[in-house]
């Protein structure tokens, strides 16, 4: 009802509504505004992502500048002043007086960077291969889909771990630390491309028999152009859903690998590394070094996951 009202209003006024207004008025935006879960998850995710992106400007301390660390501040509990120096830390400090809050901001920054890059890598790879497999068919298709089948029988975290291990083996020892983040991104990306490829392949097979594709073919457009300009925009919906859920999975995968000590180098701790470090202080009673990074990881993964679930329901016309 509300939608038709808007449309008639727009039709009666001479000035066409702006792009921003149209985005705000779209079905998707409406579904977002009316879903409390999506709103809360969206706000949490945006706050964490913004805080992580702006970490160098909003973090009260630089946790990785050894010169700024005050050893006397070590093990300050959260929300209290240090008994020797009187310094106040929102979420406490670790053994070396490093501010946990700042470490979380920088850690989330790295986790998100790895997560986004891995998803982007998996998406580009999966969508490209899916388009080719779906459009060409034949042996290319069966080869790619057999590989996908085999890969799907293994848990993706295991694949990422194995790829990481193998890649590490092939990199000369001097470059291992410097390359670790990129290897990690490729490993997580390669462990997750199958989802995209399968969905895009299926959608491409449906689209390619439609008239607009045949028309493009008749006027002699290059297959690459048909795929990129005509088919791709029509298969992107599900890809975005998988990408959002994939981001949550990639963040968890990165945290898991870093927790196991095979992910990012210890000099650049991500959320997983922080949890690994915090675990060591549990027995001596410094619970905050573990708890807050764990909560940050959980809030990030859960909110992105819920957003993905919501997006899937909102974009799926059968469920609406």
């Amino acid at each position: 009802m509300a939608r038709t009202d808007h449309e008639t209003a727009a039709a009666s006024t001479p000035r066409p509504p702006g792009r921003l207004y149209r985005a705000w008025d779209s079905d998707l935006a409406h579904a977002f505004r009316t879903s409390p879960v999506a709103l809360v998850a969206g706000i949490v995710a945006v706050v964490i992502i913004l805080a992580a992106a702006l970490a160098p400007w909003i973090a009260p301390h630089d946790p990785f500048d050894p010169g700024s660390l005050v050893l006397m501040d070590g093990f300050t509990p959260p929300m209290t002043e240090n008994e020797f120096t009187g310094n106040f830390y929102l979420l406490g400090t670790d053994d070396q007086g490093r501010d946990v809050f700042s470490a979380i901001l920088y850690g989330a920054r790295l986790s998100l960077f790895v997560g986004f890059s891995a998803v982007l890598f998996a998406m580009v790879l999966g969508v490209t291969l899916g388009l080719i497999a779906g459009y060409r068919g034949g042996w290319v298709d069966s080869l790619l889909m057999r590989i996908a089948d085999v890969q799907l029988t293994f848990p993706s975290i295991l694949i990422a771990l194995l790829i990481f291990g193998v890649a590490r083996g092939f990199i000369p020892p001097g470059y291992r630390e410097a390359m670790a983040i990129w290897v990690l991104i490729v490993a997580i990306g390669l462990s997750d491309w199958v989802q995209y490829a399968r969905v895009v392949r299926g959608a491409t097979m449906v689209e390619k028999s439609k008239e607009y594709v045949q028309a493009a073919r008749v006027i002699g457009a290059h297959p690459a152009k048909i795929l990129a300009r005509h088919i791709l925009p029509n298969v992107m919906g599900p890809v975005l859903v998988i990408g959002t859920i994939g981001l949550a999975l990639a963040i968890i995968a990165e945290a898991t690998l870093s927790f196991l000590g095979v992910g990012v180098p210890p000099t650049q701790p991500s959320l997983g590394t922080l949890i690994r470090i915090g675990q060591g202080f549990l027995f001596s009673g410094e619970w905050w070094i573990l708890l807050f990074p764990a909560l940050a990881l959980l809030a990030l993964a859960l909110s992105v996951n819920l957003l993905g679930d919501w997006l899937r329901d909102a974009l799926n016309p059968r469920l609406r």
Binding site: R146, V150, T153, F154, P155, I157, L158, L161, L162, F164, G165, V166, R168, G169, F170, P173, R176, I252, A255, T256, F259, L260, G261, V262, G272, I275, Q279, L282, F283, W287, L290, A294, L297, L298, A301, L302, N305
Partner: protein, 327 residues
């Protein structure tokens, strides 16, 4: 049917060969095996002799065939880091991993089945709702975080259970078990729960969904109309018919349990194969990595093969479908 089995077998063999190829390339191209084994002091003649003896001058295909032959016989060379035969290392740590996987598998299956049936039968109860909500949280928590939280609660705060190691073990020939001593059993609890929790929630949700579906079926209504007891209807008729998919999924999850054991073993410093693998990745101990790669692929391929073949044995409808569709 026969063609299907053959195709599945062939696929499994191809997968194993690809994994073997990756693991062999790792062996062959990472570092120089000769300098790793001889060190700095060796003469050129020594190096050449070892090179010849190891067969490194042979063509790639011959070397690969050689690698596969030795791998089939269980020979993966010597660990760079620990200087012991890889096969011995893995065999000495396998019991720990298998015990952990078996106990958490049983935990996941029994509790998952029980809770699944309960939540399906008492669909509107508050306890069912609480269980379902808790399971949602359980699914979204990463495994390592569950382990760390369990350690915090049960080992640090309550001090009921140990947080690392296997406790006392008993030697039974080559199998060292922790199941026979009280400390061994206590040490097993937290890792087994950590490892099994995700699988348990999965099985529980599956059992619940299947049960709800079956309970709506006509033959259940008919069984009730015949005046059979609730017990006979729920367990004799309904549960029995939900078990086929549940058992297959559980079977497939067995591989995941072994894979996720890597994480659990690291959290609890459990001396199993997974922890060995993580160490080998950190130190780039190539022979151990290569052997683990082949081992885990073998486990997965065998489990998938068995589950696929079991489908056909257990469910005659699939045979009919496949036959009608395929030919």
């Amino acid at each position: 049917m026969l063609a299907y089995i053959l195709r599945r077998l062939l696929q499994s063999v191809v997968v194993m060969m690809v994994v073997a190829l990756v693991s062999f390339s790792l062996f062959r191209f990472v570092g120089d095996p000769v300098s790793t084994m001889l060190g700095q002091e060796a003469t050129v003649a020594d190096r050449e002799a070892l090179r010849e003896r190891l067969g490194l001058n042979d063509p790639f295909v011959v070397q690969f065939a050689d690698f596969v032959t030795r791998a089939v016989q269980g020979d993966f060379g010597i660990s760079y880091r620990l200087q012991q035969p890889v096969t011995d290392l893995i065999l000495s740590r396998l019991p720990a991993t298998l015990e952990l996987a078996a106990i958490s598998g049983i935990f996941a299956f029994v509790l998952g089945l029980g809770l699944g049936v309960y939540t399906a039968l008492k669909r509107r109860g508050w306890l069912s709702n609480a269980i379902m909500t808790a399971s949602l949280i359980g699914v979204s928590l990463p495994t390592f975080l569950i382990g760390v939280l369990l350690i915090w609660i049960f080992a640090v705060e309550l001090q009921w259970l140990p947080s690392f190691g296997r406790g006392e073990v008993v030697d039974l020939g080559w199998w060292r078990t922790g199941l026979l001593t009280p400390s061994g059993r206590a040490s097993l609890v937290l890792p087994a729960v950590t490892l099994g929790l995700y699988q348990m929630t999965l099985i529980m949700r599956l059992v619940r969904a299947e049960m709800l579906e079956v309970l709506r079926a006509d033959y259940i209504k008919f069984a009730r109309a015949r005046g059979l007891s609730d017990r006979a209807v729920n367990f004799g008729h309904a549960l029995k018919n939900t078990l086929v998919p549940v058992i297959t999924i559980t079977g497939l999850q067995l591989g995941s349990i072994i894979a996720f054991a890597i994480i659990t073993e690291t959290v609890f410093q459990w001396p199993g194969v997974g922890a060995l693998f993580i160490n080998s990745v950190q130190f780039v101990d190539v022979p151990v990595m290569a052997a683990y790669l082949v081992l885990i692929a073998l486990v997965f391929v065998v489990i998938n093969l068995i589950v696929d073949l079991l489908y056909y044995v257990v469910d005659p409808r699939l045979r009919a479908d496949r036959g009608a569709a395929g030919h």
